[in-house]
């Protein structure tokens, strides 16, 4: 059968099981859109290409399936860039498809031309410029394979307009063959055995779990490991949901805004079991003072993460789920006798240094998040956040018990991520409640996507922690810049009116007594609802490790 390039692309997407594309059409990608018009694929028109990339990302994080976004050449493609970089930093499988000017026009500064494969070289796992329509079907399959296997990540396909318009005989390509790409699977049994031995010897073990646990679906194995060796579990921001936040062994999040008991436990541990993590600076603080007494077991699918930031005693390269399964089996040979002294010490820390905040009559953002948790913990819920103080409070005060239920921009820290990511999550999980917790700064970076939510009747709930500041930056100015609030105070629009202008419901809450009823109303509604929580203006995220300090030197 003779098909045009655009038709081949869309046919491949259908064959690969793609149910939805988030995108924004334009000149160079028109041949693809023309084919999409007849396809059995849903298209969500966002109001900005960045929204499309984040929506594909949110969809992928929520469902575990690859997210697809699409944009035209030039500005369309460059508007995807932040979303692609965001997905790259957090290892999220998205496929970005961009139109490109015709091959004969490439390199001539043509209208709406941008070298998007060049631009995205450092922020994609791989990318393709399709030079020949006969390569297209193979490339699309390779792209999905690369994005979703090994350490996941974004892959971009740049499709020149004339390639998309030219015809060829379509044949389904064979299995993907990439001789330079062999993602690891099982861990080396000898390494696993050495890890088991260290675990059996440990007196004060701590599990440090990250996004790799969520990505590989290893939450059950992680829980089994923790319970078997009675090791407390601290998660990174990306690892939230990978271990139940309300589990007695949970230490919550560690690092810059981690709980004190989490950081103390890590610093005093004699064995750190690092699972699907990358020893990021937000976690380790001063690197050479991190977990000074601990031997380290590092399990990760990406060999380049081993030894990148810290030296480890045992490294196991492999898929986290499979390695943990191996490790659990290996541990059966040992009589693991967890000492109770370590448990007791941690229990004491938890009692002495709980996560807390001062209640002084003002509306506190932490209280709002606690109420959101109270009202949603017993129903299937996804919570997306933006970046800043509200994100950290969500990580601290909302106890996520399921993987993929917390959707947040970790590595890149992208303000404006939350709302479009929530839209993507809602598309992927139509029967669940999706809440976007945001700040008055972040929400305005992609607020136009409220229109997308209204347009497609996606009933996302947006909770803005409105303190009239770029709160996290203001906090740093307060603590480290002598309260010189250089350009962090925000003059905001009326968010309620804005929501209504977009066709969503808008509510405003200024007192604590109004919090619960407003949330109840919002969660009952079948429409998108925005709630403007006017909260205390100068509340800080505490505890906090000042930059460059060891993680047990915490403020607050």
């Amino acid at each position: 059968m003779e098909l045009k390039g655009g038709e081949i692309l869309v046919k491949c997407l259908e064959e690969l099981g793609v149910e939805v594309v988030f995108g924004y059409p334009g000149g160079a990608i028109l041949p693809v859109y023309d084919a999409l018009y007849d396809a059995d694929i849903r298209h969500i028109l966002t109001r900005h290409e960045q929204g499309a990339a984040h929506a594909a990302d949110g969809y992928a994080r929520a469902t575990g399936r690859p997210g697809v976004c699409m944009a035209t050449s030039g500005p369309g493609a460059t508007n995807l860039v932040t979303g692609i970089a965001n997905a790259y930093m957090d290892s999220v499988p998205i496929i970005a498809i961009t139109g490109q000017v015709a091959r004969t026009m490439i390199g001539r500064d043509s209208f709406q031309e941008a070298d998007i494969t060049g631009i995205t070289l450092p922020i994609t796992k791989h990318n393709y410029l399709v030079q020949d329509v006969n390569d297209l079907a193979r490339i699309v399959r390779e792209a999905f394979h690369v994005a979703t296997t090994g350490r996941p990540g974004p892959v971009l396909i740049d499709l020149p307009r004339d390639v998309a318009a030219s015809k060829t005989e379509y044949r389904e390509p064979g299995p993907v063959k990439l001789r330079g790409y062999r993602p690891p699977a099982e861990g080396n049994p000898e390494d696993v055995a050495r890890a088991a031995r260290l675990i059996a010897e440990a007196q004060r073990p701590v599990i440090y779990a990250g996004g790799g646990v969520v990505n590989s679906g290893a939450h059950e194995e992680l829980r089994a490991l923790a319970e078997k060796i009675m090791a407390p579990v601290a998660t990174t921001l990306m690892g939230i949901g990978g271990f139940p936040g309300d589990h007695p062994l949970s230490l919550g999040m560690l690092g810059m805004h981690g709980a004190k008991y989490a950081n103390y436990a890590v610093m005093e541990s004699d064995l750190l079991i690092a699972v699907g993590v990358r020893f990021d600076d937000r976690v380790t603080g001063k690197l050479d003072a991190f977990a000074p007494e601990a031997r380290v077991i590092h399990i990760d699918i990406d060999p380049a993460e081993i030894g990148k930031n810290v030296r480890v005693n045992v490294a196991i390269v492999g898929d986290v789920k499979r390695v943990l399964t191996q490790l659990l089996k290996c541990l059966d040979e040992y009589l693991v006798r967890p000492g109770t002294a370590w448990q007791e010490k941690i229990a004491t820390w938890k009692k002495e240094y709980p996560l807390t905040y001062r209640r002084d009559g003002q509306l506190k953002p932490q209280a709002v998040i606690q109420e959101i948790y109270r009202q949603t913990k017993d129903r299937p819920t996804r919570v997306a956040t933006d970046v800043g103080q509200h994100q950290m409070w969500t990580a601290q005060y909302y106890f996520f018990s399921r993987p993929r239920s917390f959707i947040s921009s970790g590595g890149l820290g992208t303000m404006g991520f939350g709302l479009p990511a929530a839209i993507g999550a809602q598309v992927g999980c139509p029967d669940e409640l999706v809440v976007s917790i945001s700040g008055d700064g972040s929400i305005q970076m992609n607020i136009q996507e409220l229109c997308t939510a209204v347009n497609y009747e996606l009933p996302v709930k947006v909770a803005i922690m409105n303190n009239g500041f770029l709160g996290m930056v203001r906090q740093w100015q307060e603590l480290f810049y002598n309260r010189r609030y250089a350009y962090t105070e925000l003059i905001n629009p009326d968010f309620v009116k804005l929501a209504e202008a977009y066709g969503a419901e808008g509510l405003r809450v200024t007192r604590e007594v109004e919090v619960a009823p407003a949330l109840e109303q919002a969660f009952r509604s079948s429409r998108p609802v925005l709630i403007d929580f006017v909260v205390a203006r100068e509340e800080n995220v505490l505890p906090m490790v000042p930059p460059g300090e060891p993680i047990d030197k915490m403020l607050g």
């Binding site: 791989h126 330079g180 060999p303």
Partner: protein, 166 residues
């Protein structure tokens, strides 16, 4: 310490940019980089000389291996290997000095590949030491131009750095 890496890559457009870009953005220093197709036209081979301690080198190799189009990375530094570089040197050569230059070039088993009215082009092949020596010897005559290919390297004996090699 300097390391010599043999990198087999898919012979695709853009692969050089991927490798060079990766090395630059991860903050590694390239001393030299030579690239060309192998006997298998779908595969190119790069010889990259990088400077750095063992930790740096381990990261370079691991990051290179993550590139989809990189098929194989081998560190030849600690292995028995041959490495060679080719240079072209345009040297000032008044008629009176020509025979002296030609004699010196002969000693190095190098060649004169162009004879101009006031210049000669010398072609020399060898390892780093030899290239440095010939540069020193010719400098007093006046080097007008100097170009080198960058190092290429190969394991000694029957072992190979090929896709199927160990």
């Amino acid at each position: 310490m300097r390391h010599t890496l043999a990198v087999l890559v898919e012979n695709n457009p853009g692969v050089l940019a991927r490798v060079a870009g990766l090395i630059r953005r991860r903050g590694f220093n390239i001393d030299s980089l030579a690239v060309g197709p192998t006997n298998d036209p779908t595969i190119s081979r790069m010889t990259i000389v990088v400077e750095g301690d063992d930790l740096v080198l381990e990261q370079v190799i691991k990051q290179l291996r993550k590139l989809i189009e990189v098929i194989k990375v081998s560190d030849l530094t600690a292995e028995e290997h041959v490495d060679r570089e080719l240079v072209l040197i345009k040297v000032k050569a008044e008629p009176a000095q020509r025979s002296q230059i030609i004699q010196l070039v002969d000693v190095f088993r190098a060649h004169i590949v162009d004879v101009g009215r006031e210049t000669l082009i010398v072609e020399a092949t060898g390892d780093e030491e030899k290239i440095r020596a010939i540069e020193e010897i010719l400098r007093p005559f006046g080097i007008k131009e100097f170009v080198r290919t960058g190092k290429v390297a190969m394991l000694r004996g029957s072992r190979t750095t090929s896709v199927d090699g160990e």
